[in-house]
């Protein structure tokens, strides 16, 4: 009795410790951003929103912020379309092809900085140059696409294809069948993949560091540059904003489709 109680207590303690370990940094960043002191320290020295004001008033930060949002949005759209198309092909036409599947998720397994370096060398080799917007966008799409591919694949594996055949038998052509039957039923997977893609792009550092240039500096790189010269809580304010945006994206998606639809794929 006491033994199992002890084990239960120890397990509970472990869970609590894990959550503290996960959440504490977030709490510290949020608290530090509200610091009225002049340096990025913990515990904060008083309450103030001045660092948010400083962020909003900083042209460089705002420009990077808007740039990152747009880049993430465009990346998400492209990565979702390619990832969904790839998932459709792999699950339905090339289920046996392990090679193709591995290649598609390879960007997840490689260190980001290696991918970035390889891309940089590749861009020079094909004459695209080092730091173009197109190059940066391609890099982001490359590392975000696997998320879309994986979540859509997960939904497609359980997809009942007789639903599509039923639509065809009722007179719907291939595209209309996709738009009216397939897409609505896999949208949970598509949107979950889009959320992962958006967050991955918005928080992307190594790709942006090597492929971003003057005027095309995403927010994480801007923060990194800023911290090299000044150590005030503006960075914490940016970090908090990042967390809030991520949370909003997740909550909106949850409300729209329900993340559980990822598991049952919109089916019975």
């Amino acid at each position: 009795m006491t033994r199992s109680k002890l084990a239960h207590g120890a397990f509970l303690l472990l869970i609590v410790a894990l959550y503290v370990f996960l959440i504490a940094p977030i709490v510290i960043v949020v608290l530090a951003s509200l610091n009225s002191g002049r340096f990025l320290v913990f515990p904060p020295e008083g309450f103030s929103l001045q660092w948010y004001v400083k962020f909003v008033n900083s042209r460089a930060f705002m420009r990077s912020f808007m740039f990152s949002l747009k880049l993430a949005a465009l990346t998400t759209v492209i990565a979702s379309v390619i990832g969904t198309a790839a998932a459709l092909y792999v699950v339905r036409r090339a289920r046996q092809s392990t090679t193709l599947r591995l290649l598609l998720v390879a960007p997840l397994q490689l260190p980001g900085i290696m991918t970035a370096l390889a891309l940089l060398i590749f861009y020079y080799a094909v004459g695209l140059g080092g730091t173009t917007y197109l190059g940066l966008l391609l890099g982001h799409v490359l590392v975000c696409m696997p998320y879309a591919f994986l979540t859509v694949s997960a939904v497609l594996y359980n997809f009942d294809r007789s639903l599509e055949e039923a639509a065809r038998s009722l007179g719907a052509g291939a595209w209309r069948t996709f738009a009216r039957i397939t897409l609505p039923l896999i949208k949970g997977g598509v949107l979950s993949g889009a959320v992962f893609a958006f967050i991955t792009s918005f928080d992307q550092f190594p790709i942006s560091l090597l492929l971003g240039g003057v005027g095309t500096t995403p927010l994480p790189v801007q923060v990194f540059d800023y911290l090299r010269f000044s150590f005030d809580p503006t960075a914490a304010a940016v970090g908090t904003l990042n967390i809030v945006i991520t949370l909003i994206v997740v909550i909106v998606t949850e409300r729209l489709v329900g993340l559980e639809s990822l598991y049952w794929g919109g089916q019975r």
Partner: protein
């Protein structure tokens, strides 16, 4: 409305021939059941008619219209799937309306036709439900409504009752049959359940290994099976092997290890082996107490080896020789105990001859 003609249909999957040079004519308004064990090619045949599989050879006509090269959505078919394939993200009404929408039916006519077909399948009042909120039988009827509302040229049913429980399945057989006759639509019905095929079909095509072994009315298939395989698949059959020694009109005399038996049948062609099988259904055999009278025609003497009471019938196993055991099914009132000596008799008209297995293999 139109009939269906299949001409030399062949479909291979790799080295497996799923449908082997199959030809079939379904008359206008007729319901043909494709009956056979799993893997016999019946579903592949149906999917080829629907356009979901492309045949390697052969042609398909709906009436005068050649459809073999058309896409499924161009063929004007109605199809019901084994799992119903109702769209889970649409209500019953939206499911049924889908085909009409694809045909650009005006809104008023669409509503009217959806309401009419739902009334016909007794789903009025459930329009707003989602498929998962319906019982199995209701889903089945919704799937039928969705297929019929577009007034297709042909109706294709792929084991539509297989997912229902036994009692409901039996009711639905009659329901599907009366609905089909009411609409008068040419129908191909795939099933592995012989009782279902018997109840529902005008004619049954019994399929094995991609070929139709026999095509005929249910009673023909049952009473005059063309091959031993068909006889075995449809109901229970006793086989006794023998050699033809004479012919009297429509009757053959067959010399078997149990003596000379008389049965219906035609002489094997001269180049075929003279061996054949006498096939007798268990219910065509009659048991009586052995009497001293001289052996009558088609009389075998034996002993009851086993007996099973099944309620409406009693199922006996009668050993008529050391190597031959016959299945006999009789009414519960003739009661013989295990070990009793009995005489087994049957009418020549109730027995049929089929080629022995080596010839049909």
């Amino acid at each position: 409305m139109a009939g269906i003609q299949l001409r030399g249909l062949t479909k291979r999957f790799g080295s497996v021939v799923a449908v082997d040079d199959l030809s079939l004519d379904v008359a206008d308004g007729e319901l043909i059941a494709l009956l056979g064990p799993s893997g016999c090619g019946k579903t592949t045949t149906l999917r080829t008619i629907a356009g979901f599989e492309t045949p390697d050879a052969g042609e398909i006509y709906f009436g005068e219209r050649r459809v073999s090269d058309l896409l499924p959505e161009q063929r004007r078919i109605g199809m019901v799937f084994q799992n119903y394939a109702l769209f889970p993200h649409m209500t019953v009404a939206e499911n049924v309306a889908f085909g009409l929408e694809m045909r650009k039916t005006p809104a008023a006519a669409l509503r009217e036709r959806v309401a009419a077909v739902l009334a016909k399948v007794q789903l009025t009042g459930l329009e707003k439900r989602y498929p998962r909120q319906l019982s199995g039988g209701q889903q089945q009827r919704a799937a039928l409504a969705r297929a019929l509302v577009v007034s297709p040229d042909v109706l294709l049913l792929d084991e539509p009752l297989a997912n229902l429980d036994a009692k409901l399945r039996e009711e639905m057989r009659f329901y599907v049959r009366s609905l089909q006759q009411e609409v008068g639509i040419t129908t191909v019905y795939v099933t592995h359940d012989q009782a279902e095929a018997m109840v529902i079909a005008d004619r049954i095509a019994v399929m094995f290994a991609g070929r139709i072994h026999q095509l005929g009315a249910p009673a023909d298939i049952y009473h005059r099976p063309a091959t031993a395989t068909v006889a075995e698949f449809i109901g229970l059959t006793n086989f006794i092997e023998g050699k033809v020694i004479g012919q009297h009109g429509a009757l053959l005399n067959v010399d078997t290890s149990l003596g000379v038996l008389t049965c219906q049948g035609s002489l094997p062609s001269p180049d075929a082996r003279p061996m054949l099988l006498v096939a007798v259904r268990p219910e065509a055999l009659r048991l009586s107490a052995p009497s001293g009278s001289p052996p009558a025609e088609n009389r075998l003497d034996g002993a009851v080896k086993a007996r099973a009471f099944l309620g409406n019938i009693v199922d006996y196993r009668i050993a008529v020789s050391p190597s031959v055991v016959l299945r006999v099914q009789g009414a519960p009132h003739d009661s013989f105990a295990v070990g009793d000596r009995v005489a087994v008799t049957f009418e020549p008209a109730a027995a049929w001859s089929v080629p022995s297995r080596e010839d049909t293999a």
